[in-house]
């Protein structure tokens, strides 16, 4: 299985650490809605097919990547940067990444 890192290019999935479903989004910290917090921690759709998920490129740039991966074929169809580095990608892409493609 290979995952495309937006910064480093396509790499073996062993370079990445699985963080989990991208659909799990923490409710606002001030929220006192127990059901919303419980759903964030425990409830997952877990449907077969395309699955949006977060991977950490542990053995590479150590940035988080949002990946769309098909859970019945393991094929990765899309990946995009997430986190505070999201807006720095274009600037970074002007520099040749070592061992990766620039697209």
């Amino acid at each position: 299985m290979r995952i495309r890192c937006p910064w480093c290019g396509e790499r073996d999935h062993r370079e990445f650490t699985y963080i989990g479903a991208a659909s799990a989004i923490r409710p606002p910290i001030a929220s006192t809605d127990m059901e919303a917090h419980k759903s964030y921690v425990y409830d997952r759709a877990n449907t077969p097919g395309d699955h949006d998920e977060i991977w950490l490129h542990t053995g590479g740039c150590r940035r988080h990547v949002r990946v769309r991966r098909n859970t019945t074929t393991h094929a990765v169809s899309a990946s995009e940067p997430v986190g505070p580095w999201r807006d720095t990608l274009d600037a970074l892409n002007t520099v040749d990444p070592v061992g990766g493609d620039k697209t």
């Binding site: 999935h13 062993r14 699985y18 425990y42 759709a45 877990n46 077969p48 859970t71 019945t72 074929t73």
Partner: protein, 419 residues
């Protein structure tokens, strides 16, 4: 049902083996049953058997999308054990052990239950302390355990590298002498045959495509062989739980599906008399009666419905095997395969009424489904028949997550692929 016996074997041998009959019927679906169980795996079949044998509910159908035993009941590494720490798990898996011991007699089908012992290896003094604690907790709950030092481990398993010079030197181990193996396919066939004899219809190649509802209440299923109605519908579909429950309108559950791979080597002469697990990683190995080494390790750490995994797990698992048993390094792998695990958020199962009226859920088995097969069916049948959990499965609810009472044996937190 014609009973199997030594006499029947001799008689059939003398008459050219022409008198054997199929072990279960291939009935046409009826329009209506008292109970439908979705999932013709170990848990579904054992549920149907105990509904008929213990609760007198014989108008039951087991609906299976493929052939009988095509899912995880035929894909596991056949280990049966109850070496748990938390009371809810300990009581449940001990119930299972109690049923395993008499299962062949009860079903009149040899499930080849072999209590050959499960040995967990320890590789550090700290791990020995942890195992001493776990062993004591097992004993407090009435489960036999023995803490072994390195010499005792070496005598038990002559092939193990106990030299102290390996990468992860063996310090000792924790043995559950009453644990062991059973023949996985025979468990499915045995329950199917015994349930069928009590009147249960086993509907193979019958795939559920939706649920019949009256208001909120589930009143049956839609299948590729037509609608089938029932007063009660139980779901026991392991890795497909989220997919099937979504058809009923349950969009989220505390479950993620992942792939667990298993491996069999070529056959060799008897060398492993028990089940051995590696304590510095995750590997469990035993030897089948045909001589192949049957082993497995961690799940592939990501969501998957693929029934096949990736190569890094092969490398991890086989290198752990060879670090324990250096003499296996030149063995060839015969087969490998994957099964879809319904990994729950706390690593413990769910056997409960609901979540919708008329529905019952049996799921969240993680790696542990096979050994649970008898107790899972026993508890699920009780829950369906009485509309109320038995004491033994009363903690395995869906509400435990909301109530802050997860049963997290490993203390790994809500990260299902770490359980």
């Amino acid at each position: 049902m014609k009973r199997y016996s030594a006499f029947s074997i001799v008689k059939n041998a003398l008459t050219g083996n022409k008198d054997w009959s199929p072990a279960w019927r291939k009935p046409e679906p009826k329009a209506r049953y008292d109970v439908i169980i979705i999932g013709g795996g170990g848990h579904g079949l054992s549920t149907a058997y105990y509904l008929a044998s213990m609760h007198g509910i014989k108008n039951v159908a087991v609906v299976e999308k493929g052939y009988l035993g095509s899912g995880n009941i035929g894909r596991n590494t056949t280990i049966v054990r109850s070496n748990y720490r938390l009371p809810a798990n300990s009581a449940f898996y001990e119930k299972s052990m109690e049923l395993w011991r008499e299962l062949s007699h009860e079903l009149n089908f040899n499930v080849m239950f072999s209590p050959r012992g499960v040995l967990n290896l320890a590789h550090t003094p700290g791990q020995m302390d942890t195992y001493a604690e776990r062993g004591n907790q097992m004993r407090l709950m009435g489960v036999r355990s023995e803490l072994l030092d390195r010499d005792q481990v070496g005598r038990l398993n002559p092939g193990l590298d106990v030299s102290g010079s390996s990468r992860f030197p063996i310090e000792g181990g924790l043995l559950q002498p009453d644990a062991g193996n059973a023949r996985h396919d025979a468990v499915a066939w045995g329950y199917a045959r015994a349930a069928d004899a009590l009147g249960v219809d086993i509907l193979e190649n019958t795939e559920v495509s939706g649920f019949l509802k009256e208001g909120d209440r589930i009143v049956g299923v839609e299948t590729n062989r037509g609608e089938i109605r029932a007063d009660k519908v139980g779901v026991a579909v392991a890795g497909n739980t989220s997919r099937v429950m979504k058809m009923a309108g349950v969009d989220a559950l505390p479950i993620e599906s992942t792939v667990l791979q298993a491996f069999v080597s070529e056959s060799i002469k008897p060398i492993i008399p028990n089940v051995v697990t590696f304590g510095a990683g995750h590997l469990y190995v035993s030897q089948s009666d045909k001589g192949g080494l049957v082993f497995g390790g961690n799940i592939d750490y990501y969501n998957s419905y693929a029934q096949r995994g990736n190569l890094p797990v092969w490398e991890e698992v086989t290198s752990e095997l060879v670090s324990m048993f250096p003499n296996f390094a030149r063995l060839r792998l015969l087969r490998s395969w994957g099964g879809i695990m319904d990994m729950s958020m706390d690593g413990s199962p769910i056997i409960t009424t609901g979540p919708l009226p008329g529905m019952y859920l049996n799921a969240g088995w993680c790696y542990g489904g096979f050994k649970a097969t008898p107790a899972s069916g026993w508890c699920f049948a009780h829950t369906i028949a009485n509309d109320k959990a038995h004491d033994i499965n009363s903690a395995f609810t869906l509400e435990r997550f909301k109530d802050g009472r997860p049963i997290d044996e490993l203390g790994a937190g809500p990260t299902p692929w770490y359980h």
